[in-house]
């Protein structure tokens, strides 16, 4: 009994001394650490907006957006800490957009792209293509921004993600009208519509039949994408779109570009 008491007491004393020591050290270091973290964050924003004096954080669909203001409280622009889908998983990056909707900076953070191949997204030629794009630009792979050959998936993923982020920023912070890739089927008259959009390496033409406010049939009129692969996209996407009666459907993996092409073509047909 006395032994057990002695053990408990010993541990108690050691624990108490350790705890006391730690709280003293923490008291000294905690303010320094916090100061530095704030400083670093402001510095990071200064990389995009040199005159930034304060910022506000807003969470939109799980991604953080920082509105930046100068010392006089004037709105300067937005920095989004966002993610794109790459070849090896998510690519985290910061996108800075000024108050008129121009991209003024981009910084790639953690990513898992193949070293020497997909990591071109973090190199100058690609960054230069992105910086300076405007909200009103299409920002679409193969239209106004080229993908890098050999790294189509990484760069293509970045480009479509940038378009998405631009839409979020435009809508929420800049008061811009965003053209939605969603169709209001109730406003589409019955009939047969034709639309065309870029797939993987060719234009895809589709014919869409609408009756009673519903998409009843989608037919691929012509395309020249890779046989065997694009077939999967066609077989997969058409039933998905008809079932969902919407263009918000998952792409067929392995044939993302063709899948996206089909969605875009249907959109073109019905808009």
């Amino acid at each position: 009994m006395r032994n057990a008491l002695r053990m408990a007491l010993t541990l108690l004393i050691i624990g108490a001394i350790c705890g006391g020591l730690l709280s003293v050290v923490n008291g000294i270091t905690a303010p320094i650490i916090k100061d530095r973290a704030d400083q670093q964050f402001l510095q990071a924003l200064e990389g995009f907006f040199p005159d930034v004096a304060k910022f506000e954080v807003q969470d939109i669909n799980g991604e953080e957006f920082y509105s930046c203001y100068d010392a006089a409280g004037k709105f300067m622009g937005v920095v989004g800490k966002v993610k794109a889908k790459g070849y090896g998983g998510d690519i985290a990056y910061d996108l800075a957009v000024n108050d008129t909707g121009d991209i003024i900076g981009m910084r790639i953070g953690a990513h898992n792209e193949t070293p020497g191949i997909g990591d071109v997204i973090n190199k100058d030629p690609f960054l230069q293509k992105i910086i300076g794009l405007k909200f009103t630009d299409p920002i679409s792979a193969g239209v106004d921004v080229d993908t890098t050959s050999g790294a189509t998936v990484s760069t293509g993923g970045m480009i479509s993600s940038i378009r998405r982020v631009m839409n979020v920023i435009g809508e929420n912070f800049l008061g811009m009208e965003v053209e939605k890739a969603e169709i209001d089927l109730t406003k589409v008259a019955d009939g047969t519509y034709t639309g065309k959009a870029r797939g993987f390496k060719s234009d895809i033409t589709v014919q869409v039949v609408v009756s009673g406010g519903k998409i009843t049939q989608i037919e691929i009129v012509s395309h020249d994408d890779t046989p065997g692969i694009s077939d999967n996209a066609i077989k997969g996407m058409i039933p998905k779109i008809i079932e969902a009666q919407s263009l918000e459907v998952d792409m067929v993996s392995g044939a993302t570009l063709t899948s996206q092409g089909i969605v875009n073509a249907v959109f073109e047909a019905l808009k």
């Binding site: 032994n3 002695r6 053990m7 010993t10 541990l11 050691i14 624990g15 350790c18 020591l21 730690l22 050290v25 923490n26 000294i28 270091t29 905690a30 320094i32 650490i33 530095r36 670093q40 070293p115 020497g116």
Partner: protein
Amino acid sequence: MSTLAQEFSKGIFKENPIFRLLLGMCPTLAVSITAINGFGMGVAALFVLLGSNLVIAALRNFIPSKVRIPAYILIIATFVTIVDMVLNAFTPDLHKALGIFIPLIVVNCIILGRAEAFARKNSVARSVIDALGMGVGFTLSLTILGIIRELFGKGSIFGVGVMGSAFEPMGILATAPGAFITLGIMLGFVNFMFKRLGIE
């Protein structure tokens, strides 16, 4: 009984924690990417080892042997947390580079191993010398691994580029497999040299 000088040197050569005892492999493999990281990790571990050996040797007659392990862990964890906070406050870059491996010093075999095998049976002075020797041996080994991996994996030493612009770094040495390959080759080399020199 061995002299204090022997006590010190055994940690560097005969019982080098990395190349001879193969202790503390987890931080060794993970943070020896650059020379400065290896050195920083070594110094952090040296400080914790020094503190824990000192305190444990001083309290060796006071701590009941049945609860000695929890007592040691408490003491070691305290020193580790101090190191963690101090590094975070004053050398943020190193703190960021070492990351999770600073808190993990708590479970580094070298530290608990020296407490259990040495400090609890020896005087404060000998324990401090032992901690210094072991810590310096650990630091030296990590720094050497870091230098090799940084030189070929990044083309620099302590962050100073030395290989010229035409050099294309051998990326594998900066990754986990590179750590195993470098450590394996170093182990072979050190054992070969020890055999040659007749140190056993």
